[in-house]
């Protein structure tokens, strides 16, 4: 009885873990990657468009705003987000998406986001970063 219960519980856990790996491998839902150490932190935000039209957003988080603050992006296209911190640790959560990142001083974080619906998506700083942390918001406008 005990052994069967233990095996069922462990088996279920194993199944859940395989489901997570499958989502990572097959659907591309993953945690942020580890960029090579040659990728150095940047101190100014910017928006780049690659020759193939792919949009790349470079965000700098600083006490207590994101740079750039408002960016328009196309609906239905993958957009690369890169994130640096200019001072302390910040959070970066694009509402209603899986883009949920930490901005860690001394390193660059990265994720790819795609909007299926047009709209205004707030980017919330969700790591305490000092007195005015609650005012640290940026917006992505998907059109």
């Amino acid at each position: 009885m005990e052994k069967i219960t233990l095996m069922i519980a462990s088996g279920l856990l194993g199944l859940f873990f395989l489901a997570l790996l499958a989502a990572a491998r097959l659907q591309g839902i993953n945690v942020p990657p580890c960029l090579p150490p040659e990728v150095k932190p940047f101190s100014e935000g910017r928006v780049d468009t690659l020759p193939d039209g792919r949009r790349q957003l470079f965000y700098v988080a600083r006490m207590w705003r994101f740079d750039p603050e408002v960016v328009e992006v196309p609906v239905g296209k993958p957009i690369d987000v890169f994130l640096s911190s200019a001072d302390v640790t910040h959070g970066f959560y694009v509402s209603w998406t899986n883009t949920n990142l930490m901005a860690i001083p001394g390193s660059v974080n990265a994720y790819t986001v795609k909007f299926d619906k047009p709209g205004v998506y707030p980017i919330i700083c969700h790591e305490y970063c000092g007195t005015a942390h609650q005012n640290m918001v940026a917006y992505l406008v998907a059109k």
Binding site: E2, T5, L6, A9, S10, L13, G14, F16, F17, L20, L21, A23, A24, I29, N30, V31, P32, P33, C34, L35, P37, K40, P41, R62, M63, W64, D87, V88, T89, G91, Y93, S95, W96, N98, T99, N100, L101, M102, I104, P105, G106, S107, V108, N109, A110, P122, I124, C125, H126, E127, Y128, C129, G130, T131, H133, Q134, N135, V137
Partner: protein
Amino acid sequence: MTTHRETFQISPLSRLLMTIEVALPIVLLVLGVYHGFMQTLYRAGIIQSSSFAGLGYYQGLTLHGVINAVVLTTFFGVAFGNAVMQFYLRQPLIPWVHALSTGLMVVGTLIAALPMLLGAADVLYTFYPPLKAHPAFYIGATLLVVGSWTTFFGWIPLIRRWMSENAGKPMPLAVLGMVVTFIIWFLCTIPLAIEVLFMLIPWSLGWIDAINIPLARTLFWFFGHPLVYFWLLPAYTIYYTILPREAGGKLYSAYAARLVFLLFLVFSIPVGLHHQYTEPGFERFWKGFHALLTFVVAIPSFMTAFTVAASLEHAGVQRGGRGLFGWIWKLPWFDANRPIVAYSLAGLLIFILGGLTGLVNASYNLNQTIHNTGFISGHFHMTVGGPVFLIILGMSLELFSQLTGKPIRGRGWNIAVPYLWAIGIYIFSPAMMIGGLLGQPRRTNMGLSYLDPSSPHFRLDWVVTSYLAAIGAAIMFLAFLIYIGVWIATIAAPATKPAGELYLATAEILHEDAPTTSIVAKLRPWLAIAIVLIIVSYWAPLQQALRTSEKAAPYTPDNPVPVVQVKK
């Protein structure tokens, strides 16, 4: 295992020191719980201000985390451990070690409390650099931890003597539980000590300009997750030894209980990277490896759920319960003379959802939807704020009663506390978790922006969950006020029994205990596996953290200009 029915009389010095260990955190808890409730009012926009009654939101949040999650739990682990060692080993503690350890913990707590109360340490209980607190905050916290180590070192000669005098007997189960608790605590606070002593203290004093932030965070989370088991294992010890007895039954399997403690020893530390899934700089393989081990460390908790439920079923059947579920209603849920049963059962009801949501957090890519949202706070209020907190409340009062010889007064009110708390939690935590799924950040004074209808950042979709969280918190706060009332009534009552007579109810065992030749009667092989697994799981992540090219200067939380400028 022998069943101890006789009490153990402790020395007057030990009685005084243990009374301090039990009562001091309860006094501080008034401040800690008060601000827990206040935060929900700020977050719902009921208070739209950066401070209330002289305490800032983030200052109160720091007090809430440090007092409730660190000071209370450490003092309780030490006080309960001291009770277990003296009662089961039938030996007094070494007086000077006991005095030194309690002294260090009290002095450390006071030194750390001062900058927090003066607003010079608004860095929350995780004190993530580059935010910097006053050096006294780090120094006080260090003394608290060193004091708790001292307690543990003082137990070792007592245990050795007991083992040599009782050859052929396995270590009493409660002693094993508390020894494993403190081995985990000692191992996991070593990297914390490295972070604090070699990075944060010299940096906050201005002796070094800049530190490696990913390294500091990795050392912190090396400590931060095993901390959870330091909170939980004293509660598990009570679930395995006191609860079955008080509920009227026997422990279903001592073998399973021993195996559970040893599995925690092996698997509770090499899992810290699951707090760092959303950070750059670590290879995905190692995040996945820690995710896998986090799933493994869930197994001893599942085994505990099984064994405790089986023990309770046995108790309910002994009390006349029939059928598949009849035993549940026969348990002494509302027996005012056995308050620890009420505190334990209410804690278990909360822990069902607390444990399951913990698996969600551990789930690698699933964490992308909930990291740093209210989901996390909702979850851990159902673990550390659920069974752990309730067991600490119930057992602290019981220990205080034994240490002073005063009977608990307001016994009916006392058993209302855990159930009222559970009702509050079952409103508060789901509200926080649903809010988290809607994107509400944790640790944020939302009343100043997202919950202020006049702000451009106002979020209508967060209003309902924020208010529900405040309603749940109000019920929890009421439960705590009743608890404090029970304390005051108990203190005011005259002693009716000799002071300092320790008694820990101990369940008999339904199935036979393990022989000393069994693998679960040994500690060293498990400790060796634990150390190997720590090295395997942390070697590469630490190397990766060390590759960070730029170090960071300190900042105070109110100023975007660093305290010292660092040349890049």
